[in-house]
């Protein structure tokens, strides 16, 4: 108790009481008050407890949770969703989680269930089973609240084609609940970010496909959503625009949760932190591009070029090594071989020793990295 009084009283003797100085002292007063009269703490404790109780009740939770969690846990959690069309399971028991500040690439061949999953996350349709939670709020219980925090660019980029760009953006901003005072500012910002300045008064159907795509992106971003879901965002864009849009997505992705749906592998590899691969409605892989490559490649493959030796002998000796499973002659260059090791073992040391023993010159030994395309093909082509 005493030290706090000292803190508040001491300076009065030394320093003139400037208002600025008082402000720095203000935080001490509640502390000194509760130090001197602990009974004041009781109502405070009760009210905090009541507030917490109310918070745990569902309704208040869903209302406040998004306000408070906005900055912290705007993650997308997909829990065991299943969606059937007729007898066909479009999505079969998929679960994954996307954290805030993460860009996740959603890959899969056509008809694998990518778009259906996106439609469920964006509350377009309900899953038959399972649930999706965005910032802790379920799409089944409170879709309206969830939708406020999602920016969605659908697959075919549907737009009201007969509207001028600026009117269209105004409409979307209004319906997304952007406060009316801020709408103008947001529209101007979107026009700047998406490079639509020249086109803003044109009707959307007068624009080229690339510009229409930009309008689609602008409408998805206009309310500054925490979760961004983009279904093939770069389709129809020219190479320069693709680079620009990817850069934009990366920049946005730093503070937002982004799910990017695509079947262009290079794009996903260039933009995303993590990749999910889906095939026939099921999740078949989840990880960064590198871990996926490693997972798929448990057998090491090295390309070896050996000179000064007789070709057949080299081939036979390589094949005879313990660690080696298979040797391939590369047809183009007669001195090169592709050596595949047995699972989990590296054959590189053995190859080097072999060359040293036989007196051959080893001019090249490069580990061959599997391309993401191959990984993708392996995972999604079944039977």
């Amino acid at each position: 108790m005493v030290p706090f009084y000292l803190v508040t009283l001491l300076p009065c003797h030394h320093v003139t009481l400037s208002p600025c100085y008082l402000v720095t002292l203000l935080p001490c007063y509640p502390v000194t008050l509760f130090q001197s009269r602990p009974q004041y703490l009781v109502p405070l404790r009760i009210s905090v407890k009541l507030l917490l109780n109310m918070f745990h009740e569902k309704k208040l939770h869903s209302i406040f949770a998004l306000q408070f969690k906005k900055w912290l846990f705007m993650e997308v959690i997909v829990e065991n969703i299943t969606k059937t069309y007729g007898f066909q399971k479009a999505v079969d028991n998929i679960s994954f989680k996307v954290n805030q500040g993460e860009i996740v690439g959603f890959l899969g061949p056509n008809g694998a269930g990518k778009t259906t999953t996106m439609k469920i996350i964006t509350c377009y349709m309900r899953p038959n089973e399972g649930d999706v939670r965005i910032g802790g709020v379920s799409v089944l219980e409170n879709p309206e609240e969830v939708k406020k925090h999602i920016g969605y660019l659908p697959e075919a980029n549907p737009l009201y084609k007969e509207m001028p760009v600026i009117d269209y953006l105004h409409f979307v901003a209004e319906i997304q609940g952007v406060p009316s005072g801020k709408i103008r500012e947001r529209i101007l910002e979107m026009i700047k970010i998406c490079g639509l300045k020249q086109e803003r008064y044109k009707k959307i159907n007068e624009l080229s496909k690339g510009y229409q795509q930009r309008v689609g992106l602008a409408q998805a971003l206009i309310h500054d959503p925490e979760v961004l879901i983009l279904d093939e965002p770069t389709s129809g864009l020219d190479p320069n625009q693709i680079v620009e849009i990817r850069e934009l997505i990366r920049r946005i992705g730093r503070e937002k949760t982004v799910i990017l749906c695509s079947h262009i592998l290079a794009e996903v590899e260039a933009t995303c932190d993590r990749i999910l691969i889906i095939s026939k409605g099921q999740l078949v892989a989840d990880g960064t591009a590198n871990t996926l490559r490693k997972q798929a490649q448990d057998k090491e493959i090295v390309k070896v070029t050996i000179e000064d030796g007789e070709r057949n002998e080299i081939y036979r000796s390589l094949q005879a090594l313990d660690a080696v499973e298979l040797v391939d002659l590369l047809p183009a260059n007669t001195q090169s071989y592709e050596v595949q090791s047995k699972p989990g073992i590296s054959s590189r040391k053995a190859i080097f020793r072999l060359c040293a023993d036989k007196g051959w010159t080893l001019t090249e030994m490069t580990p061959i990295e599997r391309k993401l395309e191959e990984v993708f093909r392996e995972l999604t082509i079944t039977n």
Binding site: K83, Y85, T122, C123, M125, R126, P154, I175
Partner: protein, 240 residues
């Protein structure tokens, strides 16, 4: 409510941008004006200061024009994919449906408001039963609202505008004509069908009689149509 108004505003603007509204207004005024003032059973022939002939002709013109207005409301959105865009915005299905319903309804209100000069003209020629005229207008509005909700339903079950137009006309003709014809014969079935006939209720309203039975009838058609639309929209949530 605010969200509904935003959707209504956009729909109305697209009516006027696509010339749809102007064509509709010009044709409606042309038809009803021609038959009210110039041709057939017109006001001068009847030689009474009443708008009965106008209400009689608009009863038919609106029956054909309203499906043309409503056919695109949802069918076109479904076709171009903008329905997905709209549904994933923070609005409920009901707000979308209500927004579109009011857009079509306001367009009809504007059209009917443009016929008020007829009323003024007739009132300056002779002694008009003001109550009957206003009730006639209310009857037209109720009838329009019923056909709009039927049209909206037709528009929600298909992605083809022409099909939506024809379905709306097909459902509409039962209420407009067939139930009335079937109701004129005897028996309890005819009684039920007669009650379902929209023209019977409209006529009693156009005569200037306010009956809660008629209003209830129109409201129930409107809500049935809107509920059907909601069901057709939420079909996407159901498997199989």
């Amino acid at each position: 409510m605010n969200k509904i108004w935003i959707i209504t505003k956009r729909e109305l603007r697209s009516f006027f941008d696509s010339l749809m509204a102007y064509v509709m207004i010009v044709l409606f005024l042309g038809f009803s004006g021609f038959f009210t003032w110039l041709f057939g059973n017109d006001i001068f022939l009847v030689n009474q200061a009443s708008l009965q002939s106008f209400f009689g002709i608009s009863f038919w013109t609106l029956f054909f024009f309203i499906p043309a207005v409503t056919m695109g409301l949802l069918a076109d959105e479904r076709k171009s994919g903008t329905l997905e865009l709209l549904v994933t915005k923070p609005v409920s299905d009901w707000q979308i449906i209500a927004g579109k319903f009011f857009a079509a309804f306001f367009l009809i209100c504007i059209t009917l408001a443009l016929t008020l000069p007829y009323y003024i003209t007739v009132a300056s020629i002779g002694k008009v039963d003001h109550g009957a005229v206003w009730m006639g207008y209310f009857g037209l509005l109720f009838m329009s609202a019923s056909y709009i909700s039927i049209g909206l339903f037709a528009s929600s079950i298909t992605s083809n505008q022409i099909v939506a137009f024809l379905i709306a006309l097909f459902i509409g003709i039962f209420f407009h004509l067939i139930f009335g014809l079937a109701g004129s014969s005897g028996g309890w079935v005819a009684g039920i069908l007669g009650y379902l006939s929209l023209s019977n209720h409209y006529e009693s309203m156009a005569r200037g009689v306010v009956d809660s039975k008629d209003i209830l009838y129109f409201l129930s058609i409107i809500f049935t149509g809107l509920i059907g639309t909601e069901l057709a929209l939420s079909r996407r949530n159901i498997s199989n």
